[in-house]
């Protein structure tokens, strides 16, 4: 094993200082559920590692009109958000109990595809990220954060510190297809949210995971649904638009062909779930 230094900064400022001093050669780790398997396998060989577990980023706070999730908040913490069933469902479908005790919400944003199922739910919730650099903080919408395959808008001297959502309006649904019930990367993940007003969809979010270089919002599908009634025809149209927007790859989990078919199926299921309870409620 090659690690010569393991840092455990006690604050965000300390972490940012370390990042500035050691630059891009510092492996930044939170829960370790993504980084450690790669280190154990010898695929990743860092010399210096920085753990964010003691930096005060593990909180989950409610404030009027918003929920603030620390970047290093364990995924298990999301299970207590009874008013955000979409996140509860996404967390339940991520890893296992032990993985959720270690893996973090922030870390989930950096999971290589096909993983990152909590990210898919956060996209449907219009999450905003707070990112800190030397002496400054900025906000980035989650739906602009991922810029390509394993690339993000995070600068080399920046750290993700918080994820913010507003208590959601509308009805939500979460569906994930994997190889088994727990601890499985996704074939496809769908998180949907719709506000139904007088029988018509006034606002829609359809987020997809595992069918592109990163989790994304299927905007054409959202547009196809907005203004329509939530019926079989509009659901079929929306699912088609979602499949057209996706760019699935064949990997060890599933083939491109299968992913396309399952994207359609899961989008239809999610929207049918919402149609059955337009007043809102559990995912």
């Amino acid at each position: 094993m090659s690690v010569t230094e393991y840092f455990r900064p006690a604050s965000v400022n300390e972490a940012i200082e370390l990042l500035a001093r050691h630059g891009p050669d510092l492996l930044v780790m939170a829960g370790g559920t993504i980084a450690m398997p790669l280190v154990n396998e010898g695929i990743s060989a860092p010399e210096r590692v920085m753990s964010l577990r003691a930096a005060g980023l593990d909180g989950l706070r409610r404030e009027p009109g918003r929920i603030r999730i620390g970047a290093a908040c364990p995924l298990q913490g999301l299970l207590e958000l009874d008013d955000v069933p979409l996140l509860q469902a996404a967390a339940r479908h991520t890893g296992s109990w032990a993985i959720r005790n270690m893996g973090t919400v922030g870390g989930n944003l950096f999971a290589p595809p096909p993983a990152g199922d909590v990210t898919v739910a956060l996209l449907a919730l219009d999450a905003v990220l707070v990112v800190a650099g030397a002496g400054s903080r900025r906000e980035i919408r989650l739906d602009s954060f991922h810029t390509g395959f394993m690339t993000t808008a995070l600068g080399p001297d920046e750290l993700l510190v918080e994820i913010r959502i507003a208590p959601p309006t509308g009805a939500t649904a979460f569906h994930k297809l994997g190889r088994r019930q727990a601890s499985t990367p996704a074939v496809v993940t769908v998180a949907a949210r719709a506000i139904v007003d007088g029988g018509r969809v006034s606002e829609a979010r359809i987020a997809l995971g595992a069918v592109g270089p990163h989790p994304f919002r299927a905007r054409a599908a959202e547009a196809a649904l907005t203004g329509s009634r939530l019926d079989t025809a509009s659901i079929t149209r929306t699912a088609t638009a979602a499949v057209d927007a996706s760019d699935p790859a064949t990997d060890g989990i599933a083939s491109e062909w299968y992913r396309r078919r399952m994207t359609r199926l899961l989008v239809e299921r999610a929207l049918t779930d919402i149609a059955d309870r337009p007043a809102g409620g559990a995912a």
């Binding site: 891009p24 050669d25 993504i34 695929i43 990743s44 060989a45 290589p112 394993m150 993000t152 064949t250």
Partner: protein, 156 residues
Amino acid sequence: MRVAGHRTLAAPRDEVFEAIHDPTMLLACIPGCEAVERVSPTGYRAQFALRLPSIAGSYELSVRVVDAIPPASCRLDGRVAGRPGAVTGQATLELTDVDGGSLLDYTVDARIDGPLAWLDSTLVERLARGILEQGLARLDHDLARRAMAGDAEARP
């Protein structure tokens, strides 16, 4: 593993050929690539640090120009090796003149050895493609900047 692609560069193919035939400039475009040195008339070496979320590693990159038919094509033999393993292969680069610049077609055939071979091959291909495309975008940018500087000098 095979990765193939293309990119239109906003420079005439003579210039592009000169740039890719001199790996000092080419390698400098690869994100994380440092300290390019020429070790022989056709051979170059560089240090390369992989900087992706959750994956770290230092590698040595060595490249040799095997074939060159200016300004149309060139072949490079290369190897990227470090503790996580090695990627050994060949890259073929072809250039054609197009409106506004030149079209660069690339094909890379490579073998992966060591722990890196445990990674899902589609992941490695997408990673490799990402690195190549970032490198070509940087090359495009550098050539454009050089052209602008050239223009600026040419004006009295």
